[in-house]
């Protein structure tokens, strides 16, 4: 499993280059894709080199997840709260996308060299804002999760929220939240396509739950795995629960979502995938094979090695004496 960072590297790279490049204009028009079918379309035009038009397409929502105008609950508010005047949402979004935004880089905090004596921003601060723009995925998709967890931090239940909330996890798949005043239970149905993957993932997840029990990890959210849907998911339509690698349940308590930890918790819960575990297994398997071969090599007796050498000699060495003997 591999932990991904929240900002998209590619977006961040483009934004940083653009901010540093000064007034030089160049057309950029590119599409890029992220895991779970999140698509980005990035456009810069010659005329407005400091204005980026960013369109985002979200994963196809499963039927049980509730959306508001094609966006998750509270996404628009979250965008406004996070970016302020830098970002302007264009309505309606571009064809084939769920959200189109205009990002005005001139409204970013200016350089140190700016004439404005009272506003003084360091490059680090500006970078932090760019990083936030690059994490647009977290802001939009994580908005409902953040909302619920914020209420958890203040130990209340969000008003007008159902007992069980379905959120978009992957295209046509959802994960479920059961918010309560003192804890939030989060359940992920795990699905895999490949039959080998199902077996590997099942054992991996069991190991994962086992690892949680070690003493060093006492404070992390508790974690369970079960092959059948847990009790919290009563009343959910059956086709949303056809997980073939079991269900993973996390229980998040208020201490996990204290002010600073909130963002990280949101992102980690939002992108819970068992990615890439197979790669590590292969690496370890290869290393094991190598060490076993080495052990076999060592186990060969010296005589065996010698025999090989003698066998390789292609002619018999004759001394003068032998030659003499043969003549006689």
């Amino acid at each position: 499993m591999i932990l991904l960072q929240s900002p998209s590297r590619f977006l961040l790279q483009i934004l940083q280059e653009r901010v540093l490049s000064g007034e030089k204009g160049m057309d950029i028009d590119c599409h890029t894709v992220e895991f779970d079918d999140v698509r980005y379309h990035i456009q810069f035009s010659m005329r407005n080199p400091k204005v980026m038009v960013l369109s985002v397409a979200l994963p196809l929502p499963p039927p049980e997840a509730i959306l508001h105008d094609g966006l998750p609950l509270g996404a628009v508010d979250a965008i406004k709260a996070t970016y302020g005047s830098v970002v302007q949402i264009l309505d309606p979004p571009k064809d084939g996308f769920d959200l189109t935004m205009k990002i005005n880089l001139t409204k970013l905090p200016p350089d140190e060299a700016s004439n404005d004596l009272f506003v003084y921003y360091t490059p680090e601060q500006r970078n932090a804002i760019l990083t936030q723009i690059a994490s647009i995925r977290e802001v939009v998709l994580g908005a409902p999760l953040k909302l619920l967890l914020k209420h958890l931090a203040s130990k209340t239940v969000a008003p007008n929220v159902d007992k069980l909330v379905a959120l978009v996890h992957r295209p046509n798949e959802s994960f479920f939240l059961a918010p309560q005043a003192d804890k939030v239970t989060i359940v992920y149905p795990m699905r895999f396509q490949d039959s080998i993957d199902i077996v590997l993932a099942t054992s991996f997840l069991q190991e994962f739950v086992e690892a949680r029990r070690t003493a060093a990890l006492n404070n992390v959210p508790s974690c369970m795995w079960s092959p059948a849907p847990p009790l919290e998911l009563k009343g959910v339509p059956a086709d949303a629960l056809n997980a073939n690698a079991g269900f993973v349940t996390f229980v998040v308590y208020p201490r996990h979502v204290e002010s600073k930890r909130l963002d990280r918790t949101v992102w980690n819960l939002l992108t819970f995938h068992a990615y890439c575990s197979e790669g590590f297994m292969h690496t370890r398997m290869r290393r094991r094979v190598e060490s076993l071969i080495q052990a076999l090599d060592r186990a060969k007796s010296d005589a065996e090695k010698l025999k090989k050498l003698v066998h390789g000699a292609s002619f018999k060495r004759m001394s003068l004496k032998n030659e003499g003997d043969s003549r006689i």
Partner: protein, 433 residues
Amino acid sequence: MDALSRPAVVIDNGTGYTKMGFAGNVEPCFITPTVVAVNDSFSSSAPPAARGAPAKGNWLAQHSAGVMADLDFYIGEEALARSRASSTYSLSYPIRNGQVENWDAMERFWQQCIFNYLRCDPEDHYFLLTESPLTAPETREYTGEIMFETFNVPGLYIAVQPVLALAAGYTTTKCEMTGVVVDVGDGATHIVPVADGYVIGSSIRSIPITGKDVTQFIQQLLKERGENIPPEESFDVARRLKEMYCYTSSDIVKEFNKHDREPSKYIKHWGGIKPKTGAKYTVDIGYERFLGPEIFFNPEIYNNDFTTPLQVVIDRCIQSSPIDTRRALYKNIVLSGGSTMFKDFHRRLQRDLKKIVDARLRASNNRLISGDPKAQPIEVNVVSHPIQRYAVWFGGSVLASTAEFYEACHTKAEYEEYGASICRSNPVFKGMY
């Protein structure tokens, strides 16, 4: 959405830099150095077995330390920065001279490329990887194995770099798929004739002078002149100076004179900070600016073992190709690879090559008896385009955005049916062998 409707992932692993991105774009998303920084503090200095300690616990500790070390690595610029900052990371370059040497590091590199840089799920995308024309089929098999087994890709195509470089020129200049690709990378230099999209395998030439040699030559010149560069950084500094300031001269003697007459105009300064002490230092760079790239045209100034200039090798390569393709080959000589990016490189190459070709033509015309038809002059054309640095990647991007690409791919179903041997054959080489 299925994998066919998503853009394919194109990764061009070069010795020096890796270019990666999604098909259909003009530029790769990332160009990063092909390097992996591995934390080897666990594996090399495993704690000696403490006496009396339970053997099992010790084994377990070592095992989990090994697991952690497996997870603790970086690639690209990050790797360079990490290894500079602390000595617990050691750098490993998975590709050497265009061939994969360290598969473990290569797999880790791909893993980071896919998950951390491109941030895509490899199960959702077709993949296009590249290889040098001299790659052994076994290597291709191994690549296929890693891609299908570890990353579970739905389809894979392993393309030959020079053909992609030609395909890149195809869209910009509307020329044929016939031409000579002069691919000067960081670790390998190949001259590959391609006729109608098929590589003429028997005429491939490779020369031992590469981008890395240019860097080493500059490093050596700087050292001999006594520039004050910290030794641990000198290769890196030389590489950066090469990328920023080097250019190709038309005449080496004239260039020396120019530099001597107006040193202030030609000598550049470069400032750096010593990593250990933090003190500042400056480097002057003068003759190195044009002497670096000169080793392609006059290799004897660098290396006594190999003294055939690039233009002569290209000429011999074309002369060994089938006779009916030669004129077309001379007409379309395509540059690719980062080390052809020196200013005026293509002009110099075209002039020098034309000289050889014209001399031969004149000689053969002189041998003719009067009245015989004379040979037509041969058109020599070295094509250079602005995307030369990642021409191979761009060619891959173009190729992978066509509908035919998905049909030419080796698919996961095929892999499961026949095994890794499906990757041995490459449609581009078919018919030539």
